[in-house]
Symmetry: C2
Subunit: 204 residues, 2 copies
DNA sequence: GGCTGATTGGACCGTCCGGTCCAGAGGGGT
DNA sequence: ACCCCTCTGGACCGGACGGTCCAATCAGCC
């Protein structure tokens, strides 16, 4: 499916993706036209279709991939080394800092929500991202268990899901309300809960 | 700002809003045109602009208000009476059932994300909804505290935020991945955490 | 019955924008 | 030097869609 791509071509393609991503972060998919991208990246219409034959949808997909990769990238190296309580806190601070910085402009949801979550290609990008993210968190929980820093009865997968949900939920509400407190509180609570002793909880 | 509106007019207006909401839930804002709404509601172009003078944006706002109201409505009466552990569980089941039913079609995010979260009017609708939602949850936590069913040292506001974030985060990921498990696990964990004894947690 | 304003129908317009096309410049391999 | 394929420029097209307009109808009210 890939065409031969000279270094020059690859650079242009990259410039287009990054320029488009930049625009979309600020203005959202529906408010960014091909002409905007063309202008912002000093390219021409034909180049856009040269590198993204299927047109806008194709380009948006490339942007989505780019942004999805960025999400975990931004949380590194903390996210990849959650082996102690202190490192979890460092990661937490990083996450809050990132989202506080981008505020409205959540690259992830800006694309998924506005690109149509029905599209299987989009779906797959997000699913992969969440799986990776969840995996890293679960590994971190497991590391704490191994180190005896959290109760051994904790289910690493479930705990990772709880933390992940706190981040995505908090980020979503930050985006909608411009309040960072949801993310701060939810994430802090989620991490704190890892530390609490596991009392037996009877199902209702 | 309100015009005199005969019963007949009010009914038509209502029909438009509900028909538009229906369409948007399935196809998303960008994929629903005024002509679609016109056709689906057996109205004419002039009626759309008669009842929503500012055009599509105006109509979308009305739809957003309608959907926002629906969110809490759907969770009643459980959400309004979280006075015992059993009732919390009943609410939890209801929430999961609701979101499992609508899957991709999350009325809330379908509108906020695609309507531009920069728009202050949209922002206000969501903010109000989340405030109300949070308030009801906090009241529920407080009720448990009063009944001595949860540790008295719990911060009702923070706990409510944690639960709310679990729901919105889980719902968001459900929308993106079509997996209900995030919501199930996160919400269950969040509620279970209310029951756990509050061990002192030292800040890192 | 006629007046007034709400209500409805639907033709029409202008623009925005994704997409097409073709012609030309660049540049590296033989 | 030559050729071929990549790369670039930008004019152009056609459809979709939000929005306008005017005329017709309906409903309460004196």
């Amino acid at each position: 499916m890939e065409r031969a791509l000279t270094p020059k071509g690859a650079a242009t393609r990259q410039r287009i993706v990054e320029g488009a991503a930049q625009l979309i972060r600020v203005r959202g998919v529906p408010n960014v036209g091909l002409d905007d991208i063309r202008a912002a990246t000093s390219t021409s219409k034909s180049q856009l279709f040269h590198y993204f034959p299927a047109g806008k949808a194709d380009l948006m997909l490339a942007v989505a991939r780019h942004e999805a990769g960025q999400v975990l990238e931004d949380q590194m190296p903390m996210l990849g080394d959650l082996t102690s309580w202190r490192k979890w806190q460092a990661w937490r601070r990083r996450v809050i800092k990132i989202y506080d910085g981008q505020r409205q402009r959540c690259p992830l949801s800006a694309l998924t929500a506005q690109l149509g979550n029905a599209d299987p290609a989009t779906r797959e990008i997000v699913t992969t991202l969440l799986d990776d993210w969840h995996g890293l968190l679960a590994a971190g929980v497991q590391a704490l268990k191994d180190a005896g820093e959290v109760d051994a009865s904790i289910d690493a997968d479930k705990a990772a899901t709880a933390v992940l949900t706190a981040v995505t939920g908090g980020a979503g509400m930050l985006q909608a309300t411009d309040r960072i407190s949801y993310l701060e509180v939810a994430l802090s609570e989620a991490i704190d809960n890892l530390r609490r002793p596991r009392a037996r909880v009877s199902a209702a």
